[in-house]
Amino acid sequence: MDILATLRIALRALRVNKLRSGLTMLGIIIGVGAVITMIAVGGGAQARVEEQIRSLGSNLMIVIPGSTTAGGVRLGAGAAQGLTEDDAWAMMREIPSVQAAAPSQRGSGQIIAGNSNWSTSIQGVTPEYFEARDWPIVSGRGFEPAELAGAGKVAIIGVSTAKQLFGDTDPVDQQVRIRSVPFTIIGVLDRKGQSMIGQDQDDVVMVPLSTARNRLFGAPQGKLRRVGLITVKVRDGQDMKEAEERIRELLRQRHKLQSGAEDDFTIRNLTEILQAQEASSKILTILLAAVASVSLLVGGIGIMNIMLVSVTERTREIGLRMAVGARGRDILTQFLVEAVTLALIGGLLGTLAGIAGSAAVGQLAGWRTEMQPEAILLAVGFAAAIGVFFGFYPARKAARLSPIEALRYE
């Protein structure tokens, strides 16, 4: 018996009970739609984290001054020395696994270019910073040694700041005033995107560290070499945990901390944090998909239920088909095709529902969703498999009927 004729019989049988077929399908539509939406939501979260990892740069740690509170007890003020530029140089000198240690000082202020102005983040950095962050300069040049040593009045700006101040014109060689100090822009940084906490990393102005200290943020004497942050990049293939320990040892030693005394600095392994986030977003995706799959399963049970009813209702029809020459496997095929058709149509409609659903979630909740073609294939395939799985028992029940009893069935 050809499959086309079987399909026609199945479609006709499904049309006979439109409402019933529709409601049964609804179970699959909701199931497939939910799976696709949930995978899209999870995929969106995952893609965001992956993007952050890319923008952060790999194998990154940051060291910041001040100790964390332990057991509710904090060390007295003044005990903390803070971090200095020299701590960073010492790391690079004494710890081989450290590729770059970049001291930086962060502040904020108003930048004025011509008749436009913009408040932004100002960072005093050294070339090591760009290395640590994998952050290339796309136009213009980097800082010269003389500018670094002599507090040169030069700045490199991020693309967002450039856009705000100069629109589409090339910012290189333009004059600006940062906190009223005149500067020359010498370069523009590559686009970086959002940070872990959703800040625009491209809205930034970079100046030499010495310039930031001496000309912009006027640090008091004696604390001249203090920095707010050291960004550390560990060499590829080196153990991050071990590098962290070495840095801790070195800093404790340099800060002359007694054993048992609390650290006066904090090391954060950013890459590790992000990787943990990535892992958890993956688990989230799986979890969401698993929960959604339950509804798909329930939809499958709905199919089984309705197919069982259908087999009972059509016992005489089955008997007649057998009498005129249908073999057991013809009957089996017929009911299986019916169940799979039900599941597949539901699966296709569910895909549309899923696409609409993830668009709606993206709009209403403002979450990023990522539609994955594999997810659609998976969900529709899963729906078809559910049709086969839950259709098989009723179909086999039909195929095993005795023609005599089926014909006599009232």
Binding site: A5, G319, A323, V324, D330, S402, I404
Partner: protein
Amino acid sequence: MSESLIRTLALTKEYLVGEQTVAALRGVSVDIGAGAFVAVMGPSGSGKSTFMNLLGCLDHPSSGEYFLAGEKVSVLDNDALAVIRNRRIGFVFQQFNLLPRTSAQDNVELPLLYGGVAAAGRRERAIRRLTQVGLADRMHHHPAQLSGGQQQRVAIARALVNDPVLILADEPTGALDSQTSLEVMALLQQLNREGMTVVLVTHEPDMAAFASRVILFRDGRVVEDREQVPKDAVALLAQSRPAATQAA
């Protein structure tokens, strides 16, 4: 021994009811030649339905042998029996057993579907048989749109469509009024005259009168097997027509 279309040898059938074995057939040996018109009669519980099921290859005998057109079908498995039913036997039932919400043509095509006939061939053969039973103008009607007699004629067209060697009619007039019954019997007689072997199961002596041979069952055995001169349904129909016209 002459070629019989149907030959059964000591056919028995036992059912298990609860823990008791009930014998429905206790050794039935019957020969039916090609082109015969046989009425199988008997009270309910006599085994005639069981015999009919075995003749129709719908069931396996408990013992004994059954040859249909020279083939020993009593040893075949279910799938092979389905093929025999499809190719060799046309069924006509009391309740017509047409598929609801399905056109007369599609109903007639059904056996061809399982016989693996292509769509064009199915259509052509279904139309030919529907024309033969006088329903050329009702091809696309659904069973609900047809009278009982017309439905039974669709069922007969369906029985004929695969060119079987045997028509098995199980109480074909049981659900019809006497006039329509006569029409159906006339159709069966006509088919028989054209060479078709017909086995009719009935409990109505009026209907058995149209057969040329009557086999009577009681308690699972054949108790009487006689030839008779059949009544002519076509002629009776011709007589009753004017009366029917007058009544109208």
